[in-house]
């Protein structure tokens, strides 16, 4: 088989997805045998103009991580789409917005204000903010435009496969590599993970117990055998796709939903609200108020990794 041409790119991301690809350790040699890497900013020196010069559909597979929140990221996403036969939305930021999409609870103006003017480490008396075009004595400098909304890759271009995870686990990455090696990719549109919920693959004891209090993670040390949700901790397992190997819940930490909604769930947060409402013991109004008070940050918890694919997508800008 001729060697595949592989591209990797990061948009609004942390680099963790790129490092996860390296975490497959010696298996990376199999990847090197299988494919030539034609673009990978974290590791190799190819520039945007090199990619631009490639013929359309000349890249066999592109693993794209990171969300889309600027004109540059959108431009590169479109460019890599037209250059690639198979585009993979790689990692939770590309699939659901990820942590960067928490910014959808704020606005571009608020972010700029905080980062460039108010932040105590800044000295910016003239309140200069980044501009898309600046004239300097020697010529002109340009910067991409920052969008108000953080989008997923699939909200910008069509995508063949989704690999969730923050970052995707070694097992899932190897699954992708093997599928490429044996030319046995699943049907287009597939998510490479489980179709079931995380609760399905979690072996904690579920006793169908009601809870009378929601605890914050620092308030109790949970029993390592029993379901975390039934101990009053907000665990997102019931509204989250399995396939991670229950990494967090195995170390006594409640799931935060980085694998996104499971097949058939339209809105991850709404699903969790109904899960909690159904196990919280309430006898009247005060109990409901108490529950609501114990839940400190519903939007930032239930959509921790999935704001961009939620039903509401962002905070509605207030009319002025």
């Amino acid at each position: 088989m001729a060697k595949l041409k592989l591209a990797l790119y990061w948009a609004a991301a942390c680099g963790g997805c790129d490092v996860a690809v390296l975490d497959i350790n010696e298996k990376i040699l199999d990847v090197a045998k299988l494919a030539d890497i034609v673009f990978w900013p974290i590791a190799l020196d190819f520039k945007y103009h090199h990619v631009e010069a490639m013929p359309d559909k000349s890249v066999d597979v592109c693993l794209f991580n990171g969300a889309i929140r600027s004109s540059e990221q959108e431009h590169i996403a479109k460019m890599l789409r037209s250059k690639s036969k198979v585009l993979v939305s790689f990692g939770s930021c590309a699939c659901f917005g990820g942590i960067p999409a928490l910014a959808n609870l704020t606005t571009r103006a608020e972010i700029m204000e905080r980062a460039y003017i108010e932040a105590p480490s800044n000295e910016n008396p003239n309140k200069t903010l980044p501009q898309t075009k600046v004239s300097v004595p020697e010529g002109e400098l340009t910067l991409p435009e920052l969008y108000d909304n953080v989008l997923t890759l699939a909200q910008v271009v069509p995508v063949e496969y989704f690999v969730p995870g923050c970052p995707p686990t070694v097992d899932l990455i190897l699954k992708v590599v093997n599928a490429l090696a044996t030319n046995s990719l699943p049907p287009v549109g597939a998510t490479i993970a489980s179709d079931k919920t995380l609760c399905d693959e979690c072996d904690r004891k579920k006793e169908k117990k009601m809870i009378s209090r929601i605890y914050r993670t620092h308030e109790i040390i949970p029993d390592p055998e029993r379901c975390l949700l039934e101990q009053g901790l907000l665990c997102m397992g019931s509204a989250t796709r399995g396939g991670c190997g229950a990494l967090c819940v195995k170390v006594n930490i409640p799931c935060r939903g980085c694998f996104g909604p499971p097949a058939g769930v339209f809105d991850q947060g709404a699903k969790l609200v109904s899960s909690i409402a159904s196990i919280y013991q309430t006898n009247g109004k005060q109990d409901i108020e108490k529950m609501v008070n114990e839940l400190v940050d519903p939007a930032g918890t239930f959509y921790r990794f999935g704001m961009s694919v939620s039903m509401l997508k962002r905070r509605i800008p207030q009319k002025t």
């Binding site: 942390c14 963790g16 590791a43 190799l44 520039k47 929140r69 540059e72 609870l105």
Partner: protein
Amino acid sequence: MKKITIDPITRLEGHGKIDIFLDDAGDVANAYLQIPELRGFEKFCEGRPVEELPRIVPRICGV
């Protein structure tokens, strides 16, 4: 004046772009480094419960 643009800067975490301006003799007249990315952790961490931050801020840089 001639401009050389290096975009993106590679082999590091994060996005960067360098514009180098050359004068008529071909010497470097000035160089600018710009960071074409901002995610806004400074802002969106506000309002999140403090015990949750250890699960949010690692995504500033995962390298």
